[in-house]
Structures are given as C-alpha cells and as structure tokens.
C-alpha cells in the first residue's frame, strides 16, 4: 500500500469522490447563496453558489422584525441546553448503577431498560400519556419524554466498565460513599463518552420538530425554529413543491417566504456546523463501539 503509483483507477476514484462532494455540498451552498441574495432578484432564478445581489435583509427580517421567529430561535436554544444537561445527568446516573456489578438490583434495572429497546407503546399511547400528564403546551414536554434512551445508557455503561475497579475500591476504603465516587471519580474519567452523548443529545434536541407539532402546536411561545421551517415548507408543498408567496405571516418588505425559508434553514444548520469539529473526533469511535456491542 505504501508504494505510490497512481493509475487510471486512482484518477477515476478521485473524480467519483469529487462528484460525491459536489452532490453533498452544492445544496447547502445554493441555499446559503439564496439566503444572502435580494429576495426580489432571487425570483428571477439562476442563483448557484454566489449571491447576485448581496443583502442581509432576509436575516435582519428574522432577527429584527419578526418576534415569532426570534422566539422560535430562543426556544430551540433553550430546549437544546436544558435537554442536553438533564439527559446527561439522567443517563450517566443510570449507567453508573448498571456498571456496578455489585449493585443489588443491577440485573432487574438492566432488564427494565433493555425491554424498552424492543417494545414501545407507539404513537397513540404515548400521546395519551402526555395528555394525561398535562404536558400539552408545557415546556417540559421537550424535556421529560426524551430524558433517557436505552442505547445511550448502554454506551456510557460500557465505557464506565473500563474504569479500574481498584480506583473506586480505594476511595471506598477512604470512606467515600457511592455518590461521591460517582461524582468525583467516575464522572471525570468518563468525560470523553459524556461529550459524545451530550453532542448526540444536543443535535437530537435541536433537530426535533415533531413533538412541537404534536404537543405544542397551539402555543406560540413554545414554537421552535425547526417547526417554523416545517410550517413554511408545509404551506409551500400544497402547491406541489414550488414556492409561491403564500405564507403571508412572514411576508414583509424586502423579502419573501422563500428567502426567509432559506435563511431559517441556514440558521438551523449553523449550530450543527459549529459543533461538527468537536463531534467528529468522538462519534466515529462512539458508533463503532456501539455497533460492536449490539
């Protein structure tokens, strides 16, 4: 493999891979260009990856004069932050008790958790539960149902398994209780896997729109960026996919729904691009590990 001899085969591969790159990146660049182009000019068509009449108007519309979109952005950020923190606390605590072989209810808890990977109530029973709990149009509907995922707990637990038992035993002899051991020894040593799961949780929360659709549709201040985007898309789809100026709600001044839609798309993508370099370091190993385990 070390010998460098480039053949036709290598060149062909290079072209093919370049093609994959273009196919993946072009749509994002195209949308970025449209979002930065003058809305009226965009209607003429023909924007590729460079804006023709550069403007920030579509963004200033979202951040400046549209309270609802600003609220949606705020709610997206809030649910991502709160959901990630609570999710991490829950998963690590549960994973730790499962990683302790001497825990008296270890098997039973593990059993209860694994079952949930195979059977779930389904859409309607879940909906009825949320209704009975009074979580409709409540912020907690973004947090509570998503607190624990069996898969995440199992990944964290397998990582904690590799922490030497001697460490916790010596702490025990020094008089530390189980919670202290968890907090002072296990958590600091598990930071890599916690970072991975935290980023997965954050991406999941940020991308979620269906719970808003189902449980918080009638609440204006619980709306999220993904949900607003979904609504604009939904309006556009009625006409068979071609965007016309239907959504009067966002129509104002220099801009039109299509341009606003592109700007929201970019705003909803940017955080993913920002965590991407950090994410990237961990998730390949995380995924491989998870795959080997299951």
């Amino acid at each position: 493999m070390a010998k460098k001899k480039f053949t036709m085969f290598d060149i062909l591969l290079l072209i093919l891979m370049f093609f994959v790159l273009v196919l993946t990146l072009y749509p994002f660049l195209n949308i970025l260009a449209i979002s930065l182009n003058n809305a009226i000019d965009t209607a003429r068509g023909g924007i590729n990856i460079w804006p023709r009449e550069f403007t920030f108007a579509n963004y200033t519309e979202i951040f400046g004069s549209n309270d609802r979109l600003l609220q949606a952005l705020f709610m997206s950020i809030l649910r991502t932050v709160v959901g990630t923190i609570t999710g991490i606390i829950a998963s690590t605590m549960l994973a730790y008790t499962l990683s302790r072989r001497d825990f008296i209810f270890n098997k039973q808890v593990g059993f209860l958790l694994v079952i949930t990977m195979f059977i779930s109530g389904g859409l309607i029973p879940d909906y009825m539960l949320i209704r009975e709990l009074g979580l409709i149009n409540d912020f907690m509907v973004y947090i509570l149902p998503l607190l624990i995922t069996a898969f995440n707990v199992i990944i964290i637990r397998s990582f904690m398994d590799n922490i030497p038992m001697a460490l916790t035993e010596s702490a025990k002899i020094d008089g530390a209780n189980d919670f202290t051991i968890f907090w002072r020894i296990v958590i600091p040593l598990s930071l890599p896997v916690i970072a991975t799961i935290a980023l997965f949780l954050a991406v999941g929360q940020w991308n979620m729109w269906f719970d808003t659709y189902l449980y918080a549709r009638s609440s204006d201040n619980l709306t999220t960026l993904q949900f607003e985007l979904m609504k604009i898309l939904d309006n556009a789809n009625i006409s068979g996919g071609d965007v016309t100026s239907q959504n009067a709600e966002v129509l104002a001044g220099q801009t039109n729904p299509q341009s606003i839609k592109m700007a929201i798309t970019i705003i909803a993508t940017v955080p993913i691009l920002m965590v991407y370099p950090f994410l990237q370091r961990y998730f390949v190993t995380g995924l491989t590990l998870g795959a080997v385990k299951s």
Binding site: L14, Q108, L112, I124, P125, V203, G240, G241, D242, A268
Partner: protein, 338 residues
C-alpha cells in the same frame, strides 16, 4: 436469572438474551465488592446511595415506557378519554377487524414496505460502494475531507433536508436546469407533484442523507482486514478491482449480514418524517405510511383505539420480521444478532 424473568414469555427471553449479549449481565468478570453471605437488607442499607440514584429513572421508565405499553389495552376497548382508565367498554378484536377491512390500511402497508425495501437495498448498496471506494483512495487529506463532508447531512434534520430536496427539485431548480441543459428533457419536470416519483424521491433523499454515516461502520470493518491478504493477492497479480471483490467484500460480509438483519427487522419502522415533510395532497396516496395512518386516524380523528390497534399490528410485524431475519441468518451460518 431472577424469578420474574422466567415468568414472562418469549419476548422477555429475547430481551434477556440481548442483555447478556451486550454485557449487562457479565458480573462474573468482575469481583464483587461484598461477599454474598451478606443479608439482603444489609446490602440494601449499604447501597442506599446507588438505589437513590437509580430510583428516579426506574420511575421514569415505568411512566414513560411501561404505561404506554399498558396503553395497548386501549385497542381492545372503545376508548373514550372522558371515561378515565377503568371505565371503558371492552370490544375485543373489533378494531383489528375494522383495520383489516380498510382499503387505506393496505395502501399504507404497501407504501411502508415498498419504501422500506427500496431504502434497505439502495441504502446498503450506496454505503458499501462508497466505503469501498473511499477505502481505495490514496490521497489521504482528500480522503479524510470527503469522509468528513459525507456525514454532514446525517446531522441536519429532515425538515432541512426536505427543504433542500424541494428546492433542488423545483420547476426552476438546479436538477431541472441540468437535465434541460443536457437536452435530456424538453420542459421542466414537476418532481414533487408526480405520485409515481414519490418513492424514488424518498429513497434518493434517504441515500443522500445517510450514505456517509452508514458507510462509517463498513469503513471501520475494512480497516481491520489483514494487509497480508492484499500483499498475497498482489503477488498473484490481482488488480485493485479484483482485490476489492475477492478480499475486501468477503472480509466485511459478517458486518453486512448483521446490518441487513437489523434493517430487515426494522423494515416496518421506517417512520413517517420524510413522508410527512415531502408529501403533499397530490402524492398523498403514495406517501401514506403506517405511522402517518395512525397519526391521521388515531389522533387527527380522535379514534384512539383504532390508532392503537395500528401500532400493535406494527409491533407484531416488527417482531416477526426480526425473528425471521435472525432465523435465516442462523441457517446460513453467518453472524446472527441474537
């Protein structure tokens, strides 16, 4: 195994097996902190902190995971929310009979399986081919860059992907422009309002979104292939293409089979996000999948019992599919999941 595990039926055996497989039970590998002769209550007392740590989440599991499973009883009742949990009229299998008499249900089933099968075939093929080609790349920096870019779409939501797809496929969008520029078509195709194209659009967007991500696991498996095999093949004069075909592919066959089994088990669980976001009134017949059907009829029309029956049907099919796929894998003697 404790008593209550023995008591439950086949389903729990499945779960216990898996629990053992993924290592939840391998206590033998680690020395226990306390000798077994300690009494039960003494151990409880010693592990107060651990119990307190697990307790809230066990409660959570019961509320958010087990109560909905208990909610399956709704399918056998004429459930009316105002009557509370225990004051419902039992109707036996009536809702299931209704379901099987409903033509829409068969439409939904056909669409779910159709898009599911297309997704498995093209999703798997694309990921394997991409991983193979990436594995053969010589230019390290470009290789890394391509891989990094390839899983970017996995991390954006289906809302964004749906937006990208409709933009790309719109009448004056880039795809139509390219096709017209190459003189393949005379006028723009309205992709999104052609029912015949809907399954294809879903499949292609799925491949676009998940190809790079799915390839990670094949790529990782390829990295583990013994380099000596390639050396030997080279001595025998095998071309790069023959090396891919006779060494790389057979080496990752167990991984391919395990993943195929898993995806066959999930065939019916293709979800509804793509279909809901990319569908519209014109293509509704081709976009209706089982979950959407449950959503529209169950929640949309307040037919909660009917919707629950759909969910149960789906779970049963899903378990049968898992067992079939697993049994098949056992028979051909390849890696099996359980």
């Amino acid at each position: 195994m404790s008593k209550h595990m023995k008591a439950s039926g086949e389903q729990s055996n499945l779960a216990v097996d898996t629990a053992t497989k993924i290592g939840l039970d391998k206590k033998a590998k680690k020395p226990q902190l306390q000798p077994k002769k300690n009494g039960f209550w003494k151990r409880v007392n010693n592990q107060k902190a651990l119990i307190l740590m697990a307790l809230p989440f066990i409660l959570w599991l019961f509320i958010f995971k087990y109560i909905p499973i208990a909610g399956w009883t709704m399918a056998f009742q004429d459930y009316k929310p105002q009557n509370g949990l225990f004051n419902q009229e039992w109707v036996g299998l009536d809702h299931f009979k209704d379901l099987f008499n409903e033509p829409m249900f068969y439409q939904a089933l056909e669409n779910t399986l159709g898009m599911g099968i297309l997704g498995i075939i093209f999703g798997t093929l694309a990921a394997i081919i991409f991983a193979l080609l990436l594995n053969e790349m010589r230019f390290q920096t470009f290789k890394k860059f391509t891989q990094t870019v390839s899983y970017l779409p996995h991390f954006v939501s289906w809302v964004i992907v749906a937006n990208i797809v409709t933009t790309m496929l719109s009448q004056d969008g880039p795809i139509n422009a390219v096709l017209m520029g190459l003189n393949i078509i005379d006028g723009p195709i309205s992709f999104m309002s052609n029912p015949d194209l809907f399954w294809g659009i879903i499949t292609v967007s799925d491949v676009w979104k998940e190809m790079g991500w799915n390839a990670i696991i094949y790529f990782a498996a390829m990295a583990g292939v013994d380099p000596q095999l390639y050396e030997a093949a080279k001595v025998d004069g095998a071309s790069r293409f023959r090396q891919m075909w006779h060494i790389t592919l057979p080496s990752i066959r167990p991984v391919i089979i395990v993943l195929l089994i898993l995806s066959i088990g999930n065939l019916i669980n293709i979800g509804f996000e793509k279909q809901m976001l990319l569908g519209n009134n014109v293509v509704a017949d081709k976009a209706l999948v089982i979950d959407l059907y449950a959503l529209d009829y169950g929640i949309g029309m307040f037919r909660y019992s009917f919707g629950t029956a759909i969910g149960i049907f789906k779970s049963v099919i899903s378990i049968i599919l898992i067992l079939i796929a697993n049994g098949f894998a056992k028979r051909i003697g390849e890696g099996r999941v359980f």
